[in-house]
Symmetry: C2
Subunit: 284 residues, 2 copies
């Protein structure tokens, strides 16, 4: 195995399996071809053409689009299309910073193939023998990726709140990190990928943050989503990423980016160095 | 102006102005359409087709390709095609780490549109009031980008030496940095772009290094390529990049990457944050 296998795993999308979904002149989603027939019952919401899908004519503002999608997705949920409802809305935007064209229930994003955003926080401690990183193990009963290794704190970006606001909320819920500590997290870049899996496709982008913690701080989960936290020497983190798929797929990318930014990969001796740097922000 | 203007300036390539050059089944260069006629005098080196160029049949190893190109490029030099000869060979590789297909004189790279690689070093000092960065001003008589602002040390990557070896050499020549200090430079990532200008096109990739220096170290140029060095507070560096084009185009990207990695751009308040992170490694 190599670090590059994680870039490949995260970018395993086969566009030929999907039809694109257009809204307001933008491609906003990608729906699996074998699910298109499910959409034919909703001609007032989605127009099905042989080579693409588009929101029905007349759905020309945020409220109208969101209401129509909500009704359609609710009906599909009742037929069992989605693994569960999260009760959280995500913005649908062509690019980060654009005005949202509509909002959709979080659990439907992979099925629709709409891009979502989130924050991933590298929680670490500097010791005399180098950097140690807090690693979370996801709860065994978590809906997605149960039992896998994860960044200390990570969360999707719901509509209507800022990134730092989301970090403060997630830090409190997932690791009992006080607000004043959470606010010292520093934005250090982003990753992007396009990952196909059973639920659909995630053409997502994540904001990465570094949070240096005091040596005596111990994270404690409060929302039941994390089974345990462990503080690992960075060499063990690097080796576990390089040699296994134990980390949730996108967390591997966040950690590879951390290793690169902190000078822990050597450009001369890591043959895939350039390919890794370019591959971390590939996207669809 | 905005930081994003620097991504745009560095990626101003119009592919329609060029024909691609193939060697051993790879696209290795892009030559301006209005220069194709210059190549018709060398049918034993380059085959001109209506929609692409390729190395002539029979040039099937490194030595044969390099010798044929050297002869052709020398003749074109004598006709004034290149601004000057550097006496340094660059490898021609589809991707970093591939076996070189041939080598060409450095000065011909933009004319041929072959990718080149290099190292850029952010030299900085941590003071009580934050990071200060050493900024170089290029000599007024330098062949390329005379008088422009630059990273403390930067250099193209010649064939046959390692990245750290190149750093040690460039640090000595450009800033009189002792080898033991130069070797503390840490690889922290890469940038990529595709920049069109009078000479041709540069679809280049640069390895970025951070070099933290002692507060009392003062760089001193030894090869005549740098007019002066100044130590600037990082806020002045950021403002100069954001508001002007005083830096050589690719140095702006190296500095924006530095600002992002060091948490000096805020993801909530910088509207182009995601576009910058993705745009720094765009390439052709």
């Amino acid at each position: 195995m190599s670090f590059l296998d994680h870039i490949r795993r995260a970018n395993n999308w086969n566009p030929g399996d999907f039809l694109s979904l257009a809204a307001a002149g933008h491609i906003v989603g990608h729906i699996r071809c074998d699910r298109i027939d499910d959409l034919r019952a909703f001609p007032d919401t989605v127009t099905v053409s042989p080579d693409h899908l588009s929101l029905a004519p007349g759905l020309d503002d945020f409220a109208a689009r969101s209401a129509a999608m909500d009704e359609m997705l609710g009906a599909l949920r009742d037929e069992g299309a989605f693994p569960g409802w999260r009760g959280e809305f995500y913005p649908v935007m062509p690019e980060w910073g654009d005005a949202p064209l509509m909002q959709v229930e979080r659990a439907t994003c992979p099925w629709l193939g709409v891009r979502s955003w989130g924050v991933h926080i590298n929680g670490y401690v500097r010791k005399s023998d180098g950097i140690h990183m807090w690693i979370a193990r996801r709860a065994r009963d978590k809906q997605t990726y149960p039992g896998m290794l994860d960044n200390m704190v990570a969360g999707g970006q719901p509509i209507g709140i800022g990134l730092m606001e989301n970090i403060v909320k997630e830090c409190a819920e997932e690791a009992a990190i006080p607000e004043d500590v959470a606010r010292t997290a520093r934005a250090v870049g982003t990753i992007a990928y396009c990952h196909q899996f059973e639920d659909g496709v995630k053409p997502d982008q994540q904001f990465c943050y570094d949070l240096e913690l005091p040596a005596d701080f111990v994270p404690r989960n409060t929302d039941g989503e994390v089974e345990s936290f462990e503080l690992w020497p960075i060499a063990r983190v690097a080796e576990t990423v390089r040699e296994t798929f134990e980390f949730k797929f996108n967390c591997s990318l966040v950690i590879i980016d951390f290793l690169i930014r902190h000078g822990l990969l050597d450009a001369d001796s890591e043959p895939d160095y350039m390919a890794l740097c370019l591959g971390l922000r590939k996207g669809p």
